[in-house]
């Protein structure tokens, strides 16, 4: 079992900022046909802000780092993505209070509580063509992998595979939440931008922590 430390969390957030910057135009282009063409711009602005406050969090614990990251996303991203991603990190942070490192169980409850926060404010369900379609199957795959005795990195790998499938599965879906829902049938055939950013964030966790082993 790998122990996810505070430094691992900080590296993940930094790497995520870089990945979202590199994918800024890609996410915005996905948002053009079924949204309002700003998802990449907004996520990049949010994680740039997170980068700017990370130095002040160097001596803080994992929970504080995650909650502060969430609040700064809430206050810089705007739109629906701000409260949704902000709540994910805030609730994930609340799930790991006083933890010096994250065990496999902590990792599961981290994503579980983050997802519950998103479901609570966004009210989306699996199949509505949103970020939930990535995070929910990713969480299930992670739980399943640990139940099957996989080690941390193998389990994260399986989680990312499920996240990728979840992202691709949004393509034929009819949007039922968010701005894409106004398109009705016209939302079919497009990959959801929020599902895509969720996949990128989860993939970055796996890639960051895999290299460290």
């Amino acid at each position: 079992m790998k122990r996810i430390t505070k430094d691992d969390i900080l590296m993940w957030l930094k790497a995520t900022a870089k990945v979202l910057m590199e994918n800024k135009n890609y996410l915005t282009d996905l948002d053009s046909p079924i949204g309002d063409a700003d998802h990449g711009i907004n996520m990049d602005r949010g994680f740039k802000k997170v980068m700017s406050i990370l130095p002040s969090l160097d001596d803080k614990d994992i929970s504080t780092i995650l909650k502060t990251t969430g609040m700064s996303l809430v206050n810089t991203v705007g739109g629906a993505s701000g409260p949704l991603y902000g709540t994910f990190f805030i609730e994930a942070g609340k799930a790991v209070v006083e933890k010096i490192y994250l065990s496999d169980d902590d990792l599961v409850s981290f994503i579980d509580c983050g997802l519950k926060g998103i479901l609570n404010i966004g009210k989306a369900r699996v199949g509505d063509k949103t970020m939930v379609d990535v995070i929910a199957p990713a969480l299930e795959a992670l739980k399943q992998a640990f139940a099957n005795g996989k080690d941390t990195i193998e389990a994260l790998h399986l989680m990312v595979d499920a996240a990728h499938k979840g992202m691709k599965d949004t393509i034929p879906m009819l949007a039922k939440r968010g701005r894409a829902s106004y398109l009705g049938e016209r939302s079919v055939g497009h990959q959801d931008p929020g599902a895509t950013s969720s996949y990128l964030i989860l993939r970055t966790a796996y890639e960051t922590w895999d290299k460290k082993i």
């Binding site: 700003d38 206050n75 810089t76 991203v77 949704l84 404010i121 966004g122 701005r179 829902s181 106004y182």
Partner: protein, 357 residues
């Protein structure tokens, strides 16, 4: 893209600097976090009203700050909802003992951000309640979408509620009045052209030279259908009849329960229009359509209402809730009662709406 701007990323900041220079006797601007507030805020013995939303809909909401309308407005980036820190700071700036009312347009981002701000304000000991405007009949189904969007009824509600607040209404009375205005208001818009978001640089959607989009949203979201252009009379008839003949509309709205101190979901149904109703008729430009065309629209709307036995008792014609430079218009009908008419006639002194003073 051809626009009178300097840098795309500075559009909102420079607009706010401009508005603070243009109307210093009415409003002040707070930067970082951004919000516009009444120069004489907080106004004692009055509930304070706060609205907000993405920028690009000017004069809404910033130019509706002032006597008889809003106490503060929170502008987001263009077409992106503002954030809770803006709303919370604006709330602290204008809050009075009588409380604060948020007027929220029904878009997922606006609703989520305002709810978070309301929760933070409650934690800070400030009395806050909220009403949601969802009046766009282009959205038929609330089960498989976010529900109806908040459009033309918004500026009407902002003045009626602002006037009521000036007249000493309590927070609960304003909430009840706001919900009444909302369920009696219906709107539908159309576009002749797309708009261009400065940071994006390209039209939000493509319309052929002879095509129009019926039911367009104020961010360029698509509507009911795309069709070949028709005459002003035919388009007015299409919009007006869709509004007048719209069925009762039932949806679940999240409301703040002041006693239980939590958000609760409540089912609300709009009554449809009927013969004998008295209405406020609002013909609005999406930004690029001139008054001359709005008056041609109003002419036909007047005739249709007359034929249907619906009496227009007040009107509003002009550019009030826009989508940048988009060409097109929207029609809003709000069924009025005597109390609402009296409040509508009450003085208003803002950059975007001014009479009776």
């Amino acid at each position: 893209m051809k626009k009178l701007i300097n840098k795309a990323e500075n559009v909102v900041k420079e607009e706010l600097e401009g508005i603070s220079m243009a109307y210093p006797d009415t409003i002040k601007v707070h930067f970082d976090p951004n919000f516009i507030y009444r120069a004489d805020a907080p106004v004692k013995n009055k509930v304070s009203l706060i609205s907000g939303g993405g920028s690009g809909h000017e004069p809404m909401h910033g130019s509706f700050v002032g006597l008889g309308m809003l106490d503060a407005a929170c502008p987001g980036d263009i077409f992106t909802s503002p954030t809770p820190d803006q709303m919370l700071e604006a709330t602290k700036m204008v809050a009075t003992d009588k409380g604060v009312l948020y007027i929220i347009k029904n878009y997922s981002g606006d609703v989520m951000n305002f709810k978070m701000a309301a929760d933070m304000a409650h934690d800070a000991g400030i009395k806050v309640d909220a009403i949601i405007i969802d009046d766009d009949v282009a959205v038929k189904d609330s089960l498989y979408t976010e529900g109806r969007r908040g459009v033309g009824t918004t500026p009407i509600a902002e003045h009626i509620l602002g006037a009521a607040a000036e007249n000493g209404y309590s927070l609960q009375e304003l909430v009840d009045l706001g919900r009444r205005v909302n369920i009696n208001g219906r709107s539908l818009g159309m576009a002749l052209t797309s708009c261009i978001v400065p940071a994006h640089g390209k039209p939000t959607f493509e319309l052929g030279p002879d095509e129009i989009e019926i039911g367009i949203g104020i961010h360029g979201e698509p509507g009911r259908k795309r069709m070949k252009i028709k005459s002003a009379d035919e388009i007015t008839e299409l919009l007006a009849l869709s509004i007048i003949e719209d069925d009762p509309y039932t949806r679940t709205i999240t409301q703040w329960d002041g006693e239980k101190k939590k958000w609760v979901d409540v089912k609300v149904t709009d009554p449809p229009f009927k013969e004998g109703d008295e209405v406020l008729a609002f013909v609005n430009s999406m930004g690029g359509t001139p008054d001359i065309e709005l008056l041609i629209i109003y002419r036909k709307l007047y005739k249709i209402c007359k034929e249907k036995g619906i009496k227009i008792v007040r009107n509003l014609i002009g550019r009030y809730i826009t989508s940048l430079e988009m060409q097109g218009c929207s029609i809003t009908l709000v069924k009025m009662d005597n109390e609402m008419i009296k409040l509508w006639d009450a003085p208003v002194k803002t950059a975007g709406m001014r009479w009776g003073i």
